[in-house]
């Protein structure tokens, strides 16, 4: 990749466009899955892609190419598209100081690529059998997904950065004959070691699923709840994070006005950040897809909006500065403002005390699925327990929680002291863009009223 980076640097520096940018990405992806007696492995599938993006007289053009030999042609094509574009002129992007650097995951342990396909296959089979035994009549599936990505971003203002990412994920799922599901994803950036030695956890996952089998359901209504860190993270990501992506807001001025800096969106205990530099998490980026350094961006402080998530382009249009959130979901695409590692900052209350504050209500754990429909959200919860007098009482059937984001963030009355982050390799897609790796999380939180169906 280094020689292609050199080529790209020369090509970008020699471009006569107002601004030229080249992204080169080499990806190797492997998937292994085991379910019952069925074992399947796909790949490794290798992909080299390049994207040239050019700005001329305020208009952008983009060209995708598939070999380093086409760099100059792609720059010319992108320039031609920019010249003939009928778009409104955009202001010149806000460029961060030029940077030339390389970052490779500091792997303490065995790098993902050094583990043989045989070992990965064996581990999936082993965990699948273990989970299958622990849920007896139920079924089990374990899927391992790995992406090794070498990413170079070069531009005509002198930036040239290269980041080598090792992303791995193991999804474990068990289903009982009645349809009750336990599902979790362990996604990380770095070494393979954390995927090993999970036997005890897997067995507990199975026995916990059996313990949750019940026909008792609760009547829909507005109920006091505690959300676990994963659900807090989902709430922050789905229900809030997408609303402060600047490219969405610049298309929706009325919403932008509601979410301007200083606006109240949550209670005093709500503090939300997007931290690109959580380097052990798949959502992290040392530099974003425009070469802007990653950073910790405070989005909400004491319930009030502080900042949005910006690319170089949205920053220019909104008189802001880029926050390192430009991400592309595939080659040939323009960068979008997207989240990286977004989480609610922890408070000071231990979980046991939160339960006492809850008194009677529901303890909700684990994410099954969900989406945001702008400021409304709907999240399927995996595990639901009733709480009586501050003590976990009994399981009930899975529920869906829903509501409007500002209502719910305003009803958070306390936050736990136990920050935990979760990640997904293909966890976030929005409005037709491809899936990207994201990290989300937070502490346990107490919500005084939540619509539960």
């Amino acid at each position: 990749m280094q020689k292609y980076r050199d080529l790209a640097e020369k090509a970008a520096a020699g471009s006569e466009a107002d601004f030229a940018e080249l992204r080169l990405v080499h990806t190797s992806r492997t998937t292994v899955s085991h379910a019952g007696l069925t074992h399947l492995n796909n790949g490794p599938i290798e992909q080299f892609t390049g994207t040239a993006r050019v700005l001329i007289a305020g208009r952008w053009g983009i060209c995708e190419f598939s070999s380093p030999g086409q760099i100059h042609t792609a720059l010319d094509r992108a320039a031609a598209l920019a010249i003939h574009s009928g778009s409104h002129p955009a202001p010149f992007p806000v460029l961060p100081p030029a940077c030339r650097d390389t970052y490779s995951d500091d792997v303490n342990g065995v790098p993902l690529a050094d583990v043989s396909l045989r070992e990965k296959s064996f581990l999936c089979k082993h965990y699948c059998e273990l989970l299958g035994v622990s849920v007896s009549t139920g079924s089990a599936r374990v899927t391992y997904d790995e992406i090794i990505r070498d990413r170079v971003v070069v531009n005509s203002s002198g930036t040239s950065v290269r980041e080598i990412e090792n992303l791995g994920s193991m999804k474990t799922q068990a289903v009982l004959p009645g349809g009750l599901v336990a599902s979790e994803e362990l996604a990380l950036r770095g070494s393979f070691d954390r995927f090993t030695g999970r036997e005890k956890h897997i067995a507990e996952m199975g026995s916990n699923l059996l313990a949750r089998e019940t026909t008792t359901c609760i009547a829909p209504g507005r109920i006091r709840v505690i959300l676990d860190p994963e659900l807090t993270g989902i709430l922050v990501h789905e229900a809030f994070g997408h609303l402060v992506e600047a490219d969405f807001l610049e298309n929706n001025p009325a919403v932008a006005h509601l979410l301007r800096a200083g606006s109240r969106v949550g209670s005093e205990c709500v503090n939300i950040v997007d931290d690109s530099l959580q380097m052990s998490q798949p959502g992290s980026m040392k530099w974003d897809d425009e070469g802007t350094p990653g950073e910790k961006t405070q989005l909400v402080s004491s319930g009030r909006i502080v900042s949005w998530l910006h690319t170089m382009g949205t920053a220019a249009r909104k008189d802001a500065r880029p926050t390192g959130n430009a991400r592309i979901s595939g080659p040939g695409r323009a960068p979008e403002s997207r989240m990286t590692s977004t989480y609610m900052e922890p408070g000071k209350t231990p979980l046991e005390k939160l339960k006492l504050h809850l008194d009677d209500g529901l303890y909700l754990k684990g994410f099954m699925g969900g989406a945001t429909d702008m400021d409304r959200f709907s999240i399927a919860v995996q595990e639901v327990w009733t709480v009586r007098n501050g003590i976990i009482h009994k399981p009930v059937t899975p529920v869906v929680i829903s509501g409007r984001v500002t209502d719910v963030l305003g009803l958070i009355t306390d936050t736990g002291d136990d920050l935990r982050l979760s990640s997904s390799l293909s966890g976030c897609s929005r409005r037709g863009s491809g899936a990207i790796a994201v990290t989300y999380g937070g502490p346990h939180i107490l919500i005084s009223e939540m619509q539960v169906s």
């Binding site: 598939s66 009928g86 396909l117 490219d247 919403v255 323009a334 099954m368 899975p398």
Partner: protein
């Protein structure tokens, strides 16, 4: 194409001494695109080429693929590794070359960045006539795709087709919150008809000041084509011969039996003239053919690729599908549901009272093997005597898809595109709503 065939042959030569049988697939896509928002539009273009290799070695199947720069020997090396842990090869690659032709004689010369931009500006203007504060975002990609397959048994085939992929999203601030609608559809050589797009795209957006109502219990539910397409996910999985081979298909033993309501005829049409998933042969080189999956609700037959056919003692139905470098599996192509001969388009009148589902936020709790579904619908609309009266937020539908589709009240009189499907509105009775 000549260059493509040479690369394919080189890969096959590299496999000669290390495999019993080998098969190479190649894909080339040349595209143009436009990303459109109210503040700017960005034209794009590009080309990508990829190769997939599937090999039988020591009785096992291995796969791998490369996009961009290809090195035949590196690719073969990876497939050898994959063969060690691959599934047993229960079949041989076919010998007979399929008919090679162009599926669509689509002509994309009329489509330029300017014409697409004008179309989207006009669409935005039409939407703003109805909803002045609405914002339209879109991505349109139009491409010429070439496919090649060749194997060591002598099979060789190729075809090309054009496709236009359109993704549209509208957001609208309103007193009832921020409303959103999305619509993705695929055509072969032209932009979608604007009136049809508006019918579906604006369906979830009502600003008439309806009341918020409650919708709990067993209801008659009308699904829009987009929502219906998601409901059919379990059926797509259920008709797959792979699920049958794994002993997990809920349709096992149901061939020739009434499974769905007798108003429902579902077809898989890989030869559809303007079908975006049309192809003369599948990803294993087996000629495709149009098939009825459910005929007046009677289950006709499973879809098979070579692997599932071998396991089930059946013939391949030319239904193999796969991403480059992955294992084959039986898939639906252009899935269609026959519209009714008479009646209304959206079935609200025939249904009387119930709820209208215009979009589905997520289908997290479903189980393809059993057909059970849990659909988070976000906002649904309640109607009586065919007229919308109010809305309900946070609605969840649950049940079993085969059970639900056995209680069809009415089917709409015209089809709309949803992705590559052609589907009408459908009204189902007795769906659990909470």
């Amino acid at each position: 194409m000549r260059e493509t065939l040479m690369t394919g042959s080189e890969i096959l030569v590299a496999c000669e001494k290390v495999s019993t049988e080998a098969e190479v697939t190649g894909v080339n896509r040349r595209y143009k695109s436009l990303e459109f928002t109210p503040v700017n539009s960005i034209p794009g273009s590009g080309e990508r080429t990829g190769w997939g290799l599937r090999m039988i070695r020591n009785g096992k199947i291995g796969v791998s693929g490369e996009w961009g720069m290809i090195d035949p020997f590196r690719l073969v090396d990876k497939v050898i590794g994959s063969c060690r842990y691959g599934p047993a090869a229960l079949f041989s690659f076919p010998e007979e070359s399929p008919e090679s032709d162009s599926v669509s004689t689509g002509d994309l010369t009329a489509m330029t960045h300017d014409t697409v931009c004008i179309y989207l500006n006009n669409l935005q203007a039409r939407i703003r006539e109805i909803h002045p504060s609405a914002a339209l975002s879109a991505r349109v990609q139009w491409s010429e795709d070439s496919f090649v397959i060749m194997n060591s048994c002598g099979l060789q085939g190729s075809y090309s087709r054009t496709s236009v992929s359109t993704g549209l999203w509208v957001t609208l601030p309103s007193d009832a919150g921020l409303l959103q609608s999305g619509y993705s559809l695929n055509t072969t050589d032209s932009l979608p008809v604007m009136d049809d797009v508006l019918d579906i795209l604006l369906l979830p957006i009502h600003t008439e000041g309806f009341d918020s109502l409650s919708a709990v219990g067993r209801k008659k539910v009308v699904f829009s084509p987009m929502a219906f397409s998601l409901l059919l996910q379990a059926v797509r999985a259920g008709v797959s011969g792979k699920l049958l081979a794994e002993g997990a298909s809920p349709l096992a033993g149901s061939e020739g039996k009434q499974v769905l309501g007798n108003l429902l005829t579902i077809r898989d049409l890989p030869r559809l003239n303007d079908g975006a998933s049309s192809a003369p042969f599948d990803s294993e080189g087996i000629p495709t053919r149009d098939k009825i999956l459910f005929d007046d609700g009677v289950f006709a037959s499973f879809l098979h690729d070579l692997g599932s056919a071998a396991e089930c003692g059946a013939e391949s139905t030319g239904s193999s599908g796969r991403n480059l470098g992955e294992h084959s599996k039986p898939v639906c192509t252009n899935l269609t549901v026959d519209p009714s001969a008479d009646g209304s388009v959206n079935t609200l009148e025939e249904t009387g009272s119930g709820i209208l589902v215009t979009s589905i936020l997520s289908a997290g709790g479903g189980n393809a093997a059993s057909g059970s579904f849990t659909l988070d619908c976000g906002r649904v609309y309640l109607f009586r005597r065919g007229e919308i009266l109010g809305y309900c937020d946070g609605c969840v539908l649950s049940g079993n898809v085969y059970d639900a589709l056995s209680r069809v009240t009415a089917i709409g009189s015209r089809q709309y595109r949803s992705g590559t499907d052609l589907l009408p509105f459908i009204s189902l009775d007795g769906i659990s709503v909470r």
